[in-house]
Each structure stands twice: as structure tokens, then as C-alpha cells.
């Protein structure tokens, strides 16, 4: 059944969140309509390959989605120079996304560009009326982005929120029930939060990131490792883009 396609999306807003991170809204009703939190889009950026970005919000009424872009290399630099009204090629929504149905309460833990997909998860869980706690960790006050009322913010420098990393934020919580932990951020953060969840006997899902090419599961360059059920093999390679990016922490090998 062929029902997916590549779209053209117009940039409808562009804002700098800090010196090297931008927030774009793009008009693409089909993607806005279908997207679930944890999924991503692949966007052209005047380089050979597209670049993947976690969807930061989706507004079905306006037909818009948003993404956060941290300028890291040439592709993201090119994207930062795109102006409102310009058009990009876009594929999406891609990947599996978070399971937001199976639990009554969630704790979202994130840092770096991981705060963007978690923002979408926060919006959606709030609308669903679920109990959601958000802990975002940053280097210092100048890096704090995507903060919403009630979010717990930690900074390594201690000049804003709780001093320390996201684990300090998680330790400050009084946990009741069996919340599910969703973590998106740098690998050490996801490992730390995964172990924290394990020590509290809580379910934890991580969102993996790899250098990616096609984004749709055909080239096999963006693999990560999961534990294998076959006793003869140590691990299995699976595709971040198509089988993930979200995996059970107990399943994935970070």
C-alpha cells in the first residue's frame, strides 16, 4: 500500500533559542496530522543527504510542525540560513515514536536537542490528561531552552534550577506509582537515566541517534545494537530510523 510521500514544507517561523539553536515551524498538514511524539522528519539542507530532526510539536489545526536545530555542521548551518517563506523537502513522520498509552504517568528526562521530541511528548501527555513530570538538564542558564511551567530544570553550573545533571533532578522527585521514563539526550545521559530507572524498577525508553542517510529503512547505515534472543549472537543490528528511534532501555545496547 503506497500512501507515503515526500513533501514540500514552507518555513512559517524561525527563532533563535540561544546562540546556536533555532526553532522552526514548518507548514506540512500531512505530517502534522500523522505525527506522534518521538517521531522525526528528514529535511533537505543544501547538502547531499537530508538531516533528521525530532518533531518538537504538531498543530493539526494550523497544519504545522516544529523542529529544533542545533548548528553542528554544514547541514545544520545551511538550515540556519533558511528564511521564512522558503521551502524544504521533507519526509515524515518517520520512526516509531513513544508509547504514550500504556502508562498512567510519565517522567520525561532530556538534554541537548533531546528536549525537542520530549516537548511534543509533554504537550500530548498533558492533553491526554496524564500525569507528566519533566526534567531537563543543561550546562548553564544560557543554554536553558523549551522550559514550560512546572518543568524541573537542572544546570551543571548551578546558576539556574537544581545544581547538577538530570539525575539530580530525578533524585529530587518523590516517585509514586509506576511512572514510565522517557529519556532523550546524549548517550551518557540516557545511560545514566536508564540505570536510575532500573534501580527504581521503572520502565524506561530511550531515543537513539545515529548518522543517518535515507531515514526510511533502506540503506542500513544508522544501525544500533539490541540484545539478541539468539544465544549464539551477542547482539543484533537494527535500524534507528525504521525500527527505532525509540527502544526499551532493557533491550538496546547503548
Amino acid at each position: 500500500m503506497s500512501n507515503k510521500q515526500e513533501y514540500k514544507a514552507e518555513i512559517v517561523s524561525k527563532d533563535y533559542l540561544n546562540e546556536d539553536t533555532l526553532f522552526f515551524e514548518l507548514k506540512c498538514p500531512e505530517i502534522a496530522d500523522a505525527a506522534i511524539p518521538g517521531q522525526f522528519v528528514n529535511i533537505s539542507c543544501s547538502k547531499f543527504l537530508k538531516r533528521p530532526f525530532g518533531i518538537a510539536s504538531a498543530n493539526k489545526e494550523d497544519g504545522t510542525i516544529s523542529i529544533g536545530v542545533k548548528i553542528i555542521g554544514e547541514g545544520t548551518k545551511n538550515l540556519s540560513e533558511i528564511e521564512i517563506g522558503e521551502i524544504v523537502d521533507i519526509l515524515g513522520p518517520l520512526g516509531n515514536g513513544f508509547d504514550l498509552d500504556s502508562f498512567d504517568s510519565y517522567i520525561l528526562a532530556g538534554g541537548g536537542t533531546g528536549v525537542f521530541p520530549l516537548n511534543f511528548a509533554y504537550d500530548t501527555l498533558s492533553l491526554m490528561g496524564k500525569n507528566v513530570t519533566t526534567v531537563f538538564g543543561f550546562r548553564d542558564r544560557s543554554q536553558v531552552i523549551m522550559e514550560k511551567e512546572g518543568h524541573i530544570i537542572t544546570t551543571d553550573a548551578g546558576d539556574y534550577g537544581i545544581k547538577g545533571n538530570v539525575l539530580a533532578g530525578l533524585d529530587s522527585l518523590s516517585i509514586s506509582g509506576n511512572p514510565c521514563i522517557l529519556v532523550v539526550g546524549p548517550t551518557p545521559m540516557m545511560k545514566g537515566v536508564g540505570e536510575w530507572a532500573r534501580s527504581h524498577s521503572l520502565k524506561c525508553f530511550v531515543s537513539t541517534e545515529q548518522h543517518m542517510a535515507c531515514g526510511v529503512g533502506i540503506c542500513l547505515v544508522c544501525v544500533c545494537k539490541i540484545r539478541s534472543e539468539d544465544p549464539n549472537e551477542e547482539y543484533k543490528h537494527v535500524r534507528c530510523c525504521k525500527d527505532g528511534p525509540v527502544f526499551d532501555y532493557e533491550e538496546v545496547i547503548l
Binding site: 535515507c214 533502506i218 543490528h237 525504521k242
Partner: protein
């Protein structure tokens, strides 16, 4: 699609000269979400090996100007899994089924063909991959030796009546030598070219970007190399050529066919636009219409050298 795009590669009838290249379409499931693959001439499966392979570790991709390096290392579920779980699906797509056969040794290739031959009713072509640059043994090292190419193709010829297309590596000084060797061994067609061996370096870490150190360079940058090789082989071979390398547009297909290709494979373009095969096919229809071409195969080998 109209009959204007019907082509023959030796004894194999294809609806169109546009085939999706091995390793850029898996077994068709993902791209069939984007378009009806029956418009294509065929689909070449992910490169298969006798046992499943996990593929290479670490970073497998490096972007380049007008192309990319990949070093997937033939990650695949193995030929037995393919026969059990993917072959019928590929057949159901109503397009040419080309099974890409890779290996590390003479015995691997023979074992693969023995396993696939009993399913010949479901397979149109065996594409023998003597050219993957990303595995340590076999493949490219076999494909760069004309003696070994001839030996392996002759052996496979004795094992099956299925059409054998031999996919060759461009990483040789004279492409006509392995191409002629494949023909002498009994190949039905040659597929030119697999990726060019390349390297990119992270100047901060002074390490290669891909963890296998080198990777296969593909994309529009390699197109002139591929066209040159198709043209060279076309002048010395009696068997047909399937052109491959950097094709992104219908005009690229036309260029390959003029150079001597009877059909083409589209690879990396599908990684940029999942519907690249469809766009190119529609472009070819328009090209035939605009240029009053009754059948696209009339272009094959019409190159006049200076």
C-alpha cells in the same frame, strides 16, 4: 507505464530499464509504502550471504560532495531467511526479481546458487556481487581478478540455468578485463559499476569518519566514471550491460543507454528521494514522448566516439 519502456537484457524481459540497485531498496517493503514498485523493471535484493551477517561496527556513512561513502558490510538476514520470508514478497511486487548474491569465497557463491536455484520459478535473475568493497574477504578481491571472475562465473554457470548478471567493481585499472572474463565464464550480463573505494577523515580526531576506515563512494559524483566504463565495455562485450552509478534523472538513464547500457540500476538516489525510481520512470516516459522514441532500447549503444 507504456510499452515504450519495455527492454530486454539478454533473455530477460523487463517492463522498464529502471531497476532499483542492491542495498538501496532492501527487499522492497519500505519503498512500496511510497510508490507502486510494479512500474519498475526490477528490484535487486539487499546483498545476501550464505549465513546472516551483522555488518560493520560503528559509523557506516560519510557524506561527501555529490555523494556519500557507505560501509554497511553486507548486513543481511542470510539466504535461508530470504527464501523463507522475503522472496515471495518480492515476487508479489509484480516487477523483476533480481537476487543479489554475495560471498567470501568460491564455495560461498556456489552454495548460495545451489540454495537459490530450486526457487528459479520465483527469480528472474541472480546478480552475482563480485564487487562489495566493505567486507574483508571475497567480493571485491574476487571481482578485481579476471582469472577468479572467470573461474567463479564458470562454476556458477554449471549450477543454474537462471540468468547470471555479474556486478563488477570499478576499483581496477582495466574494467574490460574482468568484464570479458565474466563473459567467457558464461555470464548473461554485466552490471557496472559498484561503488568506488573511498575515505573521509575527521580532521579533529584524525580518524576516518567510517569505522571500517574506507567505504564505497556512490552518488552523482561517480556517474562519469560509470559511464566511461559502460562505454569501454560496450565496445568489447557481446553480452548486455546494466549501467549503474549516480543515476538521478531520466536524462542520466538516457546517457547510460547511449553509452551501451540495456538497462540501469538506480541506487543512492532512492536514499535522497524514496520515490526516485518512480520520478525517473515518469521522466523516461516524457523523454520518449518528447523525442518520438517508440522504444527506449533503441538508444542502447548509439554513442559515436570522436
Amino acid at each position: 507505464m507504456s510499452s515504450r519502456l519495455n527492454v530486454k537484457v539478454g533473455s530477460v524481459d523487463l517492463k522498464s530499464p529502471v531497476i532499483l540497485a542492491s542495498g538501496t531498496c532492501n527487499f522492497g517493503r519500505e519503498l512500496s509504502e511510497y510508490y507502486d514498485l510494479s512500474v519498475l523493471g526490477g528490484l535487486s535484493s539487499k546483498g545476501l550471504t550464505i549465513k546472516p551477517r551483522a555488518g560493520n561496527e560503528g559509523c557506516r556513512v560519510a557524506e561527501c560532495d555529490s555523494g556519500m561513502l557507505n560501509s554497511v558490510g553486507l548486513q543481511n538476514p542470510g539466504v535461508d531467511y530470504f527464501i523463507e520470508h522475503e522472496l515471495d514478497y518480492m515476487r508479489s511486487l509484480n516487477t523483476g526479481v533480481i537476487v543479489n548474491v554475495a560471498g567470501h569465497s568460491f564455495d560461498d557463491y556456489c552454495g548460495m546458487v545451489r540454495k537459490l536455484d530450486p526457487f528459479k520459478e520465483k527469480i528472474d535473475v541472480l546478480e552475482i556481487n563480485l564487487s562489495c568493497p566493505n567486507v574483508k574477504e571475497g567480493c571485491m578481491s574476487i571481482g578485481s581478478s579476471p582469472e577468479q571472475v572467470k573461474k567463479i562465473v564458470s562454476a556458477l554457470r554449471d549450477l543454474t540455468t537462471l540468468p547470471l548478471w555479474i556486478k563488477l567493481t570499478p576499483n581496477v585499472s582495466d574494467i574490460t578485463a574482468p568484464a570479458l572474463a565474466a563473459q567467457e565464464g558464461g555470464a548473461d550480463a554485466i552490471v557496472l559499476i559498484n561503488t568506488l573505494l573511498g575515505m573521509r577523515i575527521n580532521i579533529k580526531t584524525r580518524r576516518p569518519v567510517v569505522q571500517n576506515n574506507t567505504g564505497g563512494y556512490s552518488g552523482p559524483a561517480v556517474k562519469p566514471v560509470a559511464i566511461r566504463m559502460v562505454s569501454e565495455c560496450s565496445r568489447v562485450l557481446d553480452i548486455p550491460i546494466v549501467g549503474c552509478g549516480g543515476i538521478e534523472t531520466a536524462e542520466d538513464v538516457v546517457e547510460f543507454m547511449i553509452a551501451g547500457a540495456s538497462a540501469v540500476e538506480v541506487g543512492t538516489a532512492s536514499l535522497i528521494h524514496p520515490d526516485a525510481g518512480l520520478r525517473i520512470t515518469e521522466g523516461l516516459e516524457r523523454y520518449c514522448e518528447d523525442n518520438k522514441i517508440e522504444n527506449i532500447s533503441s538508444l542502447t549503444g548509439t554513442l559515436e566516439l570522436w
